[in-house]
Symmetry: C2
Subunit: 342 residues, 2 copies
């Protein structure tokens, strides 16, 4: 029912193949012919059939976005990745299919790559040691990652620079005068499965604190208020002099606030709080409005797609892998200030 290429060809009085060449420029077509073809296409409202094109040409203009849904659930930051990626893909004439593959369902991934549907994949929520990476490699599917494995080798990735980000967080607090800083990280399970941000922020914090020569203490903490509350009390028991807290666990923060109420502490007078890798969209809803290191989520999503397309369009040539670490942006809110004079 929709017009086909042959209809365009007939109307423009040329061969089918000439229309094809006019459309994708694989061979020269004279200006006059091209004009007639364009006109015919317009008149018929012609749109090339994506499947036929893909079948014949071996590339589909479809990319997959692999996002597992972690126990933690997906938040604003992840949504921003997705939107960034989807926008970037569309701008380049690609479609993005969403593949909510659980890690356990390696089968799903095989199915996706085996069907010949996708030209490449963007892998989200990468773990330090991620099954999907091997799978994609041996399937020969071009891919890039948001996040990175412990040894990314020559795989393209874009990730948050946790080293820099923790340094910035610690730096901000040190500048304000803090000398004893706590770090509340994600859950023990996130750490033990090797979720990248959890592991890297942990290392980064330790190093940054050591470099700045401040007393520090870290805790892993379940993603809920109760865990946050308990964790803070434990931390304070370990380091009674604590005057500032870096939190990379949005859902634990409210628990910390509860804990502070219990001991009559106020933010930022008695304790400064800096949220790490939280969207301002979230921190602005908290009271006091939190100081945060906001992740460049949309940009990461776009970058991920960009890298992938470079890889695909770039063709076979040996390229240097693109591996970028992006910093978070320090957005100062009302939750950080000078330490109390205790």
């Amino acid at each position: 029912m929709p017009p086909r290429m042959i209809d365009v060809a007939r109307r423009a009085n040329v061969a089918l193949s000439t229309v094809s060449y006019a459309i994708n420029g694989q061979r020269a077509v004279s200006e006059e012919t091209r004009r007639r073809i364009r006109q015919a296409m317009d008149e018929l409202g012609y749109q090339p059939n994506a499947l036929a094109r893909g079948l014949a040409s071996k590339h589909t203009n479809i990319l997959a976005l692999l996002f597992p849904t972690p126990e933690r659930g997906l938040g604003v930051t992840e949504m921003e990745f997705v939107v960034g990626a989807a926008d970037a893909a569309r701008e380049h004439g690609y479609h993005l299919v969403l593949s909510p593959s659980e890690l356990r369902n390696v089968r799903d991934l095989e199915q996706l790559t085996g069907q010949g549907l996708i030209d490449g994949a963007l892998v989200m929520e990468v773990r330090i040691d991620d099954d999907r990476v091997q799978l994609l490699e041996q399937a020969g599917v071009p891919f890039s990652m948001i996040g990175r494995t412990s040894d990314p080798g020559r795989i393209d990735y874009a990730d948050i620079d946790f080293e820099q980000t923790t340094r910035d967080a610690v730096g901000h607090l040190v500048e304000l005068g803090h000398r004893c800083i706590g770090f509340l990280n994600h859950s023990p399970s996130a750490f033990s499965v090797g979720y990248g941000p959890t592991v890297r922020a942990s290392e980064g914090f330790r190093r940054a604190a050591a470099t700045a020569d401040v007393v520090h203490v870290e805790r892993l903490c379940g993603d809920n208020a109760a865990a946050g509350q308990a964790a803070f009390h434990e931390m304070r028991a370990a380091q009674p002099d604590i005057t500032a807290l870096i939190v990379m666990n949005e859902r634990a923060i409210v628990g910390v606030m509860d804990a502070l109420d219990e001991i009559g502490w106020r933010v930022p007078d008695d304790l400064s709080i800096v949220s790490m890798v939280s969207s301002t969209r979230v921190t602005e809803m908290m009271r006091p409005k939190l100081t945060t290191l906001e992740p460049p989520s949309t940009q990461l999503g776009r970058l991920g797609i960009q890298m992938l397309l470079d890889q695909i369009d770039g063709g076979a040539g040996e390229r240097a892998p693109v591996q970028e670490l992006l910093p978070c942006r320090l957005v100062i809110g009302a939750s950080s200030g000078p330490p109390p004079a205790r």
Copy 2:
């Protein structure tokens, strides 16, 4: 390079077409033959090529998810839609392509449907009067909506039951003893473009309040703290007796809290707050933990896909349209209580 159907056929000593029939059951195949074919497929690790299949059969097993990115940005609730839809699609053997079409880019939509890539579309963020609906109709693409237009006709949709939800919100407050209730809605621009939830919640609130015979006042309010703060002061000026507030605007809430601080009011002692259509994921991060009417987001996403598939697989037959309104779940937090005895 990957095995093709002909390879399977040769290995199982049958015709190509027999393999096809064995796979999708369009014709009877003997048990013995089927066994041999299955074995050959396993040995070769065969996976049908999705494009070839689609080209020949006229359906692709791909659905599109149409989500415009509103000025307001996409939040947790929207993410949950998306995940629900993606999961449901995968469970049924479909892929989901993300189409972040701006409403203005009607061209993008035409391109998507014209390419023959998708079997159907799920439309998110539907407005009272939505261009995309006409476009999809005239393109002959099966689709269903999350949300609904003013006159959905025979189009399938799943939406939140705003009538019921506002009634529940008002009911909860009335039960607590409140007699003067405010409603803080989304922005004037959301209202004027006819964003469904904004419009319907407005009507619902007015009706519910009238039925319950309580004094009520409503304001549209920009999606930010400053607007919320100003709006609350205005509301109180209009109705000094206000003792409870229903808010369907997550980002304005913190502004309301600021306003309360200014006049020395506390929640819920002086003012009860109920958040409408907010994920508990969000309300649990607020202090006090907000009472909310939590939307069945994931379920809506799944339902949307389900309806779409019924429509597609159901075939040509005249079905009754599936039009479902789902209630939100009242989750009582610490932000609502009896009115003060002023």
